[in-house]
């Protein structure tokens, strides 16, 4: 998976002629609905060819953000730039962006071919050109046999393809997708996910993709932008967001089961202490570390079961879930729930006393008040990572 690069380039005229560059830039974008703030001061650069996923729980403002990019919603603050040109006030008709809606929004009275050809018809292209282009897109998406059907005669997966076809037919500057897979069943979602990734690879198009599904985000994104209450919580490649969550929110949102977060304290000897917790943090040798309370995070799959004596975490198994290939053991450590995930059989039964440990590299420290990630700066004291 390629890593998205931040693009600050204004496209030169030549480049725009040779190949459609499409960078999207959001400058302090905000949107209020009455007193409620849906999107708050979002700064973002979407590089050409990037598959950017806006991820977040429902109500985090991700769809509002996408609709502002599409021009369907007017921002209350900030600017939107497409290829360096300010399009904030431009109506959606003139933005040359294609959008796939969650509901697909297929025109129910038009056949599949007329649905796909609609953007070309609106641009007054000639009939033969529309027919040729629609045929091309239909072949690409395997819709050739369905061109005369009406949307209501299609299955969910077929409708999704038609919606995609309508976006593909006119070589837009960028694709905006609003949870396009959420109405598909699980099996179809997995295959469509792979197809979308493949399509993106072939077209090398810029995609802004909205989802609340962490699996979609992890598997498809070249960069994830995690939103929380209208603000960017963290932006980065999926691996980075998963391995180094910037905040407690990011740590909780990605991963299944979510990252274990327990209250602990860093002591003078550079270890994390708490009820049932005594873990080395692998910090460089220092005479004494400043003591402070922390939220200690560790992913369930990074924990391993060890003999209880001298284990970093000691607790009692409360439940074991069988996932088929793997098992998840839920344990009570001190007063905190801690989940362990590993290959089946895990060798733990409810009621067992259990010892757990994790490599220092897989431990995450967060400030218990701000929720922000803490890193060790050798020269000075620990400071929240910005």
């Amino acid at each position: 998976m390629s890593v998205g690069q931040v693009a600050f380039t204004a496209p030169s005229g030549d480049a725009a002629l040779l190949r459609r560059m499409s960078t999207i830039r959001l400058e302090g974008l905000g949107r209020r609905f009455g007193a409620a703030v849906a999107v708050d001061d979002v700064w973002l650069d979407v590089a050409d060819g990037e598959f950017l996923v806006l991820l977040g729980p429902s109500g985090c403002g991700k769809s509002t953000l996408l609709r502002m990019i599409a021009g369907l919603l007017e921002p209350s603050a900030g600017r939107i730039l497409l290829d360096g040109a300010d399009i904030t006030a431009l109506p959606p008709q003139h933005r040359n962006l294609a959008m796939v809606f969650q509901s697909y929004a297929l025109y129910p009275h038009l056949s599949v071919s007329r649905n796909i050809g609609f953007p070309l018809r609106a641009r007054r292209r000639s009939k033969p050109e529309i027919t040729a282009k629609v045929g091309e897109v239909a072949a690409l998406l395997g819709l050739t046999d369905l061109l005369d059907r009406k949307p209501r005669q299609l299955s969910g997966g077929q409708r999704q393809r038609v919606a995609l076809g309508r976006a593909l037919v006119r070589d837009p500057g960028a694709f905006l997708m609003d949870e396009p897979l959420s109405n598909l069943d699980a099996a179809l979602r997995a295959t469509t996910r792979a197809e979308l990734v493949e399509l993106h690879r072939r077209l090398n198009a810029t995609v802004v993709y909205v989802t609340h599904d962490q699996v979609e985000a992890m598997t498809m994104a070249s960069r994830i932008v995690l939103l929380n209450e209208g603000r960017v919580e963290q932006a980065g490649p999926p691996g980075e967001v998963y391995d180094a969550p910037a905040t407690v929110f990011a740590a909780r949102f990605l991963g299944s089961p979510a990252m274990n977060l327990v209250d602990a304290a860093v002591t003078r000897d550079g270890r994390a202490h708490g009820p049932g917790i005594d873990l080395p943090l692998g910090l460089p040798d220092e005479a004494a570390f400043p003591e402070r309370p922390v939220t200690l995070g560790v992913r369930p799959e990074r924990l391993s079961i060890v003999p209880e004596d001298g284990a970093g975490l000691r607790g009692v198994v409360t439940a074991v879930e069988n996932l088929g290939g793997e098992e998840v053991a839920h344990c009570l450590v001190g007063s905190s729930q801690v989940a362990v995930r590993g290959p089946r059989p895990l060798g733990a039964r409810p009621g067992d006393r259990i010892g757990l440990t994790a490599a220092p590299a897989h431990l995450h420290l967060f400030d218990p008040v701000s929720g922000r990630r803490l890193t060790w700066q050798p020269a000075a004291t620990t400071a929240p990572k910005e």
Partner: protein, 314 residues
């Protein structure tokens, strides 16, 4: 000793065939009855108030009767129909009925469509104002319009600077009736159009905008086709009921005059029955109009059905 492979899971028993014995007739009847029992009250009302009077009308149309209960009916065969078809009143009142329908269509279709599209997604206050005439009782409205259209002191003539005798001129009476009926109905039709527009998922418009369609393209290619079931409903209502709505106004303002110039088929029917007390003739006219409207309504309803577009499922 050499073992053998056995199926680890016992094979399923064969599917059971049809249930052996059919339940007894009484049991089957008791099971089938509830839906019909639920329908019964509605069906009884329909029969008592619609189908039975229809049958009675049909029966009456072959008799001569003066509506006096003590006078016996006499059977006259098809006399009533022959009398009807040989008078010129039937033809001219039919033509006038079509004129009324055509005159009402702008009020029940074109104006509401225009108002609906222009006020789409805006406040409801002015829609309420447009709807208000519907709430005015026809006879009360008629009285007010009688003052307004008065040839000497009426506001209409004062404003227009004319001295037309609107309700008593053979050329203007019918159109005055159409105008007042249209004023009554337009608000209702605006509400119907507004409801139809509100029923169209705004995502279609949003998608069309992103797809690059202009406002007029969206209206022509998306909104109007999706609104067509509503528009067909209004056309059907106007064609089938429009002329009926004029009745109270005709009765209050012109009594079908002057010289029958505002007599529609409904008013003609009423005159035969309750002015001339010729129940048989009125019944025959009723049967003919019923048949005539069926001939118009069936193809219209078919067209409306074909135009109806079912919304796309989730």
């Amino acid at each position: 000793m050499i073992g053998t492979f056995v199926e680890a899971v016992p094979s399923l028993p064969p599917r059971r065939a049809e249930a052996a014995a059919r339940p007894r007739a009484v049991v089957r009847l008791a099971r089938a009855a509830p839906p019909y029992l639920y329908l019964a009250p509605g069906l009884v009302l329909l029969v008592v108030w619609t189908y039975w009077p229809l049958a009675q009308t049909f029966f009456l149309s072959f008799h001569s009767w003066n509506l006096v209960p003590s006078t016996p009916m006499t059977q006259v065969g098809t006399d009533n129909y022959e009398r009807l078809l040989t008078t010129s009143a039937l033809g001219s009142s039919t033509v006038r009925t079509f004129q009324v329908i055509a005159g009402l269509l702008p009020f029940t279709l074109l104006i509401p469509l225009g108002v609906g599209l222009l006020t789409r997604g805006r406040g409801t206050v002015h829609r309420g104002l447009v709807f208000a005439p519907m709430l005015v009782a026809p006879v009360a409205g008629a009285t007010v319009w009688m003052f307004l259209l008065d040839p000497d002191a009426g506001l209409v003539n004062t404003v227009l600077g004319t001295d037309v005798n609107w309700l008593n001129g053979t050329g203007t009476a019918l159109w005055a009736i159409v105008l007042i009926t249209g004023w009554h109905l337009a608000g209702f039709a605006v509400l119907v159009v507004a409801a139809g527009l509100a029923g169209i998922d705004p995502e279609y418009t949003a998608a069309a905008r992103v797809d690059g369609a202009t406002s007029s393209q969206i209206t022509r290619w998306i909104t109007l086709p999706l609104l067509s079931p509503t528009l067909w409903f209004l056309v059907l209502m106007t064609v089938l009921l429009g002329a009926q709505w004029t009745f109270p106004l005709i009765d209050t303002l012109t009594q079908g005059g002057p010289a029958g110039s505002s007599t529609t088929v409904y008013y003609l029917l009423w005159e035969y029955g309750f002015r001339s007390n010729d129940a048989g003739l009125a019944a025959a006219a009723g049967v003919l109009f019923f048949a005539g409207f069926m001939l118009v309504a069936v193809p219209l309803a078919r067209l409306a059905d074909r135009a109806a577009v079912r919304e796309e499922g989730p």
